[in-house]
Homo-oligomer: 368 residues x 2
């Protein structure tokens, strides 16, 4: 069994065992590097439901392999009912993840088309691999299209590092490889362009401090963790050259829903004349929505994420209460950055202005 993880991937197939998918257990990062093994449908469901894996693209890919494993572990007349049950079970793990439904649907369609064939399981493995590779390729292309933006600033900095601020985790831990916001960063780093990343802690779940910092550290990208409060000060002092974030959902006019706090960085970037980029696969556009502030519902999450801080106590992961016992808490999951504050969208189909005409044209572009 090969359980050495490849340092820049959140999910990989075990060498030599087509029935074993391995993922990084993101619940214990960055305090422990623990591999979680998925060789059954049930383990795939558990991994998604318990947030061993997280991030829409990674959830979709994990679910695709879950469908494949369900087929692999069943045969004969049982397989038909198993596959139906597998789709239902996987879709129930994180009911709001649109990407999840799309990927289990693709796998179910491949099963239906090929169920009469002897090598239907191989077909399902091929489709799961295809889904994974599509996600990786979309991220890689986001990197390619974003790279010139970093290079251009670098060319003006005479060897000084390009200072990039990012919020939350839009890295390969949320995808499979490369990530979205991080793809241009990793590519620039590989190309030898000097960069330094300011990593917003990203309260309340601390995805920046825990996951983005971990990712960047693994491959040696220079970075510094800052409280979410600090970004404005750094911008005022000329210590930020550009901001790159991801997006959970972007409207047809370019309003960007992303992790709570993104808007504060966008408005400060605008106040300081700093470009604010959003990196996203084009599947993140929701052309049915126009005005983001009015149309995108903002999830309210559990108060305990604000009331407690989770960390390493020297021996294990534990939580401490950080507020008075009786004080109420509000915990909004994301906010909307109006298109007027976004300099450019970076997608796998190219750069795109945050305005309706450009976004619709981009969506209608055929993939190369």
């Amino acid at each position: 069994m090969d359980n050495k993880f490849p340092s820049n991937a959140s999910l990989w197939l075990s060498n030599g065992d087509q029935g074993l998918v391995q993922v990084l257990d993101q619940r214990v990062l960055p305090f422990e590097t623990r591999i979680f093994e998925i060789s059954t449908l049930e383990q795939a469901c558990y991994a998604i439901r318990e947030m061993v894996v997280r991030g829409a693209p990674l959830i979709g890919v994990t679910a695709a392999y879950g469908m494949y494993l369900a087929a692999l572990n069943s045969d004969g007349p049982d397989r038909e009912i198993t596959m139906l049950q597998a789709e239902i079970a996987l879709n129930a793990t994180r009911p709001t993840a649109v990407n999840l439904f799309r990927m289990t649907g693709r796998m179910a369609a491949v099963y239906k088309q090929n169920k009469g064939k002897e090598d239907v399981v191989s077909d399902l493995l091929l489709e799961a691999n295809r889904i994974r590779n599509e996600e990786i390729e979309a991220c890689r292309l986001i990197g390619e299209y974003g790279l010139p933006l970093i290079r251009e600033i670098g060319s003006r900095k005479k060897g000084q590092p390009v200072q990039i601020l990012t919020h939350c985790n839009a890295g390969w831990l949320a995808c499979v490889e490369w990530g979205t916001a991080t793809a241009p960063i990793y590519l620039a780093h590989r190309m030898g362009i000097p960069i330094h990343v300011w990593v917003d802690e990203t309260r309340p779940r601390n995805q920046g401090a825990r996951l983005t910092a971990y990712e960047l550290g693994l491959v040696g990208v220079p970075h510094t963790i800052i409280p979410d409060n600090a970004g404005g000060h750094l911008m005022q002092k000329g210590m930020v050259d550009m901001v790159i974030t991801g997006s959970d959902r972007t409207t047809r006019n370019g309003d960007v829903a992303n992790k709570i706090g993104t808007y504060l960085k966008a408005v400060a970037a605008s106040d300081n004349g700093i470009p604010f980029y959003v990196a996203l696969p084009s599947s993140t556009f929701d052309l049915d929505l126009v005005n983001g502030l009015d149309s995108i519902p903002v999830e309210e999450r559990d108060a305990s994420e604000v009331s407690f801080a989770e960390g390493w106590n020297g021996e294990s992961i534990s939580s401490v209460r950080i507020i008075p016992e009786k004080s109420p808490v509000a915990n909004y999951g994301f906010d909307i950055t109006p298109a007027r504050l976004v300099t450019m969208l970076i997608t796998e189909k190219g750069l795109c202005k945050p305005e309706e005409v450009s976004i619709v044209a981009l969506i209608n572009t055929k993939n190369e």
Copy 2:
């Protein structure tokens, strides 16, 4: 011994014992309500140095009583040298606190003037009480001048609560009673104006979540703790009517140095047409400084404040590490909010526009 604290004061004299000053031990708030007793110079020094007490006004008042206690506990020829040593010892506890030097200086002057008199100790107690009462009165007046701003918004809200956002702790825990940013809030609450306060957590030291929430909770002011990331979203959604913060230092043209993250709220308030008020005693103005961004040095604090979260583990106060072990951290203590983003300054001498002419005129106003 009376050690029941009066619910809205950070420091008080024990009833019936002129040699005993009591303070709330702010190191353990809000998890424990512990009274710390000061009856010697050494205890006063300890309380300031170890941050049992914090906030410039409260530090100054504690130091004044420290000078008084030094005199009370010495006599004859020893007292002269004791008083000299007391001033040196107190000034060394928190070397950057200007207010501290000013108050020990006032006490030393009273001692020098009256040291030949038999009741010099009484004179020192009177001066310490005067210093304390001046601080309380300044805060109360800030409340009086700020109240109409809340009342005016309240009159338009038809019984709905006035939604006030505040950052960090500028309450009576930093002062003696009332606080600065909180003074108009407490006064409005007493007057029966419906209000609700959004309390910014205020990473990395969490003074909002720990101290401001504790203060407001004690006297029943409706409030909700939010991550620092959330304020912009609330403003966009029309859920904030006004922002009030304190200030560590304000320049002659109205640039405001305050806790890191204040600028992000100011720029978002401006983007949403929400008034942004700064409450400060006029002693906080530094007329020697013009441009805040260029002239006010921003303290860099210890990385451990960002790397660790302190809270209650169910049995005691403990810390957990919340970032990867090897990731670097930056920890800037405050930021500068440019005068253009400040709607009005609220001082004990009245409201004041954040511009040089108004500030200089205000400073030259005699106290009533």
